[in-house]
């Protein structure tokens, strides 16, 4: 039959036609505009309205930024410069305030010849955090990470090096006690590894450090806490809170999920009380009331008190986030760990927590971002964080009446830091994603 075909039909095309170009409205920019901006009457309206709003904002902001004055010593001088250019006082930004007060905003009242120390500490932190954040960094770098908090503290506050060496020794002692008693009994080893270092820190570390320092004084110039300020202070409080609150939060979450009634009740009460009251009230408690709760005569650093309060506060939030992760894990995982004969610490460490923490990464990072933003509240108890300095600068006669430039700058720095944390968590989530979609 098939050969008849050739004779019955006059013409059969034996090659494919070349593809013709898509209609003009269905390709390139036109298609994109049609689909993304003008797909329906409502969308046309929305596009026009947003373009109009964008136009209004840019018309104000762009000239304001391009006419910015960078060199002036006061707001009035800055306005004179603007007037000399024939511009009104609100037609150009006075970014000179940031140049003028840069050091204050960054370092607070830190001695100016020692600025290299917080900078070095920050660089050290950036290097030390690398192995935690990225898995391609050699694992040996984790030793630096472990040493970084102590080195960073020493760099920022200064003083004798022996103090932090003997504090760091507490961790080594705790580990040694744990290894020594592990063979005897797990609970005993844990209790010993917690109690012995505490006793050591309370009674032995201070005198030992003093004596060694008398023999071999190594130290750098000490800086007092009240000289800290600006972004240095915000970053110190934020980092300390982040580093300390994660382990505490995980412990609280485990406590809340535990079968042990007393531990569960205690965790629930702790978490709910901390979460139920605003941070600002806790900060006032730290500054007004903490002395009541400590032995008479104790008086310790305000920054340290704030760090403790911020840590407890964010630990309660992290506990809730981690609890969500623990609850989201299928029961089969817990049962599988039990079936393998793992005891509680091992099953948590090897099976449950790695998965639960992976689920709760977004929440944990959100809590960290919240904690970092909340460090601005310390301004209410008299510490000079960036917001405190904006208030101080605005109260100064030179810069009285300036607000957009200062708040904009401080906001931008916070935005960059918090936004990059958020982006990192999204990246990490994708990295750890195991199921194929």
């Amino acid at each position: 039959m098939s050969d008849t075909h050739a004779q019955t039909v006059a013409y059969v095309r034996d090659t494919m036609l070349a593809e013709s170009a898509p209609p003009l409205a269905e390709k390139g920019a036109v298609k994109w505009f049609r689909e993304n901006l003008f797909s329906s009457p409502v969308n046309v309206l929305l596009t026009i309205v947003s373009l109009f709003v964008l136009f209004l904002v840019l018309r104000l902001v762009l000239p304001w930024l391009t006419n910015a004055v960078w060199d002036a010593n006061s707001l009035s001088e800055c306005r004179e410069i603007l007037a000399a250019k024939g511009l009104g006082s609100h037609d150009g930004a006075c970014l000179a305030v940031i140049k003028d007060r840069w050091h204050q905003l960054m370092f607070g009242f830190y001695p100016s010849h020692l600025y290299w120390r917080p900078v070095l500490a920050f660089v050290l932190f950036l290097v030390a955090i690398m192995p935690v954040l990225f898995s391609w960094v050699p694992r040996q770098a984790l030793y630096l990470t472990a040493a970084a908090p102590f080195l960073g503290y020493w760099l920022v506050w200064g003083g004798s090096i022996w103090g932090i060496v003997f504090v760091a020794l507490a961790i080594v002692i705790g580990y040694a006690v744990f290894r020594a008693l592990e063979g005897v009994n797990g609970i005993l080893a844990t209790v010993g590894a917690i109690l012995v270092p505490i006793i050591y820190l309370l009674y032995a570390a201070g005198p030992l450090a003093g004596q060694v320092n008398d023999i071999l004084p190594i130290g750098i110039e000490a800086v007092k806490s009240n000289q800290l300020g600006g972004f240095t202070l915000a970053i110190i409080i934020g980092l300390a809170g982040i580093v300390l609150s994660l382990p505490l939060g995980i412990l609280l979450a485990l406590g809340r999920q535990s079968d042990l009634f007393i531990i569960k009740t205690f965790s629930v009460i702790f978490i709910e009380v901390i979460r139920g009251v605003p941070l600002i009230v806790w900060l006032f408690t730290a500054s007004l009331l903490l002395n009541y709760f400590l032995p008479p005569g104790t008086n310790f650093d305000l920054v340290l008190r704030v760090i403790i309060m911020v840590t407890l506060f964010s630990a309660a939030y992290i506990a809730e986030v981690v609890r969500g992760g623990l609850a989201a894990l299928p029961t089969g995982q817990y049962e599988a760990a039990d079936a393998l004969g793992l005891d509680y610490p091992k099953s948590m460490r090897l099976i449950v927590l790695p998965q639960a923490l992976k689920i709760s990464i977004p929440g944990i990072v959100n809590t960290f971002i919240g904690l970092f933003k909340d460090t601005t509240l310390v301004v209410f108890i008299g510490l000079s964080d960036p917001i405190g300095f904006t208030n101080l600068i605005r109260a100064n006669t030179d810069w009285n009446g300036i607000y957009w430039e200062l708040f904009g700058f401080v906001g931008l720095v916070f935005f960059i830091l918090c936004f990059s944390m958020g982006r990192y968590s999204l990246w990490l989530e994708r990295q750890l994603q195991r199921e194929h979609r």
Partner: protein
């Protein structure tokens, strides 16, 4: 032949407390409770010793003594002769006021931004992303201070409104005045007010003072509005019933609209409702409602900040409804707005509501940042001036913490009840 032998009668050994899982949890709990009790005892003992050293005691009778300070914004009668307790209540009401206003505004902003962020329109979804990320990543305190500075330093003074060619003019048809002392908006006065004293003409030929209003008037108006709301709901339910039975839905929209509007309008007319706009008197505005800068800054900043979080919640809630649901609805021939109302929203709300309520809670707690702009909330009255004046910081902070705690627990309780009522009924 095997015999069933009795298991060895184990006597209790001390080592079982550690090695036997039946007793180990008991051991751990006993140790933990001893440690907790010791810690608490240590704290309490320290407190007692410290209070003793300072010659202080714990008493709450300062609440009954005269406060002696003024509060610029008050929802109930208060003057400096009143007690600290009443000052605290004024503060609590101010906290609740800004929290209430903030929750409403934040919901409106957040839902709008969240829905628009999902829009197919590239430009608007990008704009909303900028809004959400911008507000989520910058401290709230900064926004409060910025808006406050903008209001106090960027807005015209009341005297700029004076003269034949004023430097500033009132907006919205001479009804709203935005000044550096705050925003003045119109209020509603009642000519035939029940509670308030009637407006009496002033003798020397000046304008008659505008009509006042009282709580009774508003109670009446709101009561009627409330009742008519339930009335129109009854009509709707009846229409639903008829539709169930016969398949035909009676047209009721005009009836429902009428029930909603007409009774309230009649009551307003009988009471002689009249809009009273603010006007310049001397160097300041008078009449109308004065929204102070502190309230404005706090309200706007809280709403915009929380709105950004709510936008994310709404977006993720809507995205959590699987695409098959809307496709199924379209396959059934439903129109887009029906699909949204009957299929997507009921499922999305289940995801949205719990985090939404916890955002309301956050907003309420964040309102304690009022301190930054001098808004007299409960932290500034009870936790601020009262503590400074009486030196009762322990008691004051305790009461303050208790207030926030009770509020939080109440809201969480409501949330739990809601969660239980909407959770999927699993078989």
């Amino acid at each position: 032949m095997s015999t069933l032998s009795e298991p060895p009668k184990a006597s209790f050994r001390l080592s079982q407390l550690i090695y036997d899982t039946r007793y180990r949890s008991l051991t751990i709990q006993v140790i933990a409770s001893i440690l907790i009790a010791l810690g608490l005892a240590w704290l309490i003992n320290n407190t007692i010793v410290n209070l003793d050293n300072l010659g202080k005691d714990i008493k709450f009778d300062f609440l009954g003594s005269q406060a002696g300070y003024d509060i610029n914004q008050r929802l109930i009668e208060y003057d400096s002769q009143d007690t600290h307790a009443r000052a605290a209540i004024v503060g609590i009401l101010n906290t609740l006021l800004v929290a209430f206003l903030g929750c409403i505004a934040a919901t409106i902003i957040g839902v709008t931004a969240g829905v628009l962020r999902l829009s197919k329109n590239w430009l608007i979804s990008k704009l909303m992303t900028v809004y959400v990320e911008g507000f989520r990543n910058v401290p709230l305190l900064l926004w409060i201070l910025l808006i406050f500075a903008l209001m106090t330093e960027g807005m015209p003074q009341p005297r700029d409104f004076r003269g034949d060619e004023p430097a500033a003019t009132m907006s919205l048809g001479d009804n709203v005045a935005v000044t550096n002392r705050g925003i003045y908006i119109p209020r509603i006065g009642f000519n035939n007010s029940i509670g308030a004293e009637a407006a009496e003409p002033v003798s020397d030929g000046e304008d008659t003072p505008p009509p006042g209003s009282s709580g009774v008037d508003w109670l009446l108006v709101l009561g009627v509005l409330f009742a008519s709301f339930f009335g129109q709901r009854y009509v709707k339910q009846r229409a639903d019933g008829i539709q169930e039975d016969t398949g035909l839905r009676p047209t009721t929209w005009y009836l429902r609209l009428g029930i909603l509007i007409i009774p309230t309008a009649i009551v307003m007319f009988v009471l002689g409702a009249q809009v009273v706009s603010p006007y310049l008197k001397g160097f300041n505005f008078t009449e109308g409602v004065h929204l102070r800068n502190s309230l404005i800054a706090l309200w706007f900043a809280l709403s915009l900040y929380t709105g950004a979080f709510i936008a994310e919640i709404v977006r993720s809630g809507i995205m959590a409804v699987s695409k098959g649901q809307s496709e199924a609805a379209f396959a059934l021939g439903m129109r887009p707005n029906w699909t949204m109302n009957l299929v997507i929203l009921p499922q999305a709300l289940r995801v949205i509501i719990p985090p939404l309520i916890s955002q309301y809670l956050n907003l309420t707690k964040n309102s304690s940042l009022a301190l930054a702009v001098g808004y007299m909330d409960v932290r500034s009255t009870l936790g601020g001036i009262t503590i400074n004046q009486t030196g009762r910081e322990l008691e004051g902070m305790l009461l303050l913490g208790l207030f926030y705690l009770v509020l939080s627990l109440l809201i969480s309780g409501v949330m739990n009840i809601y969660n239980n009522s909407v959770k999927l009924q699993e078989r």
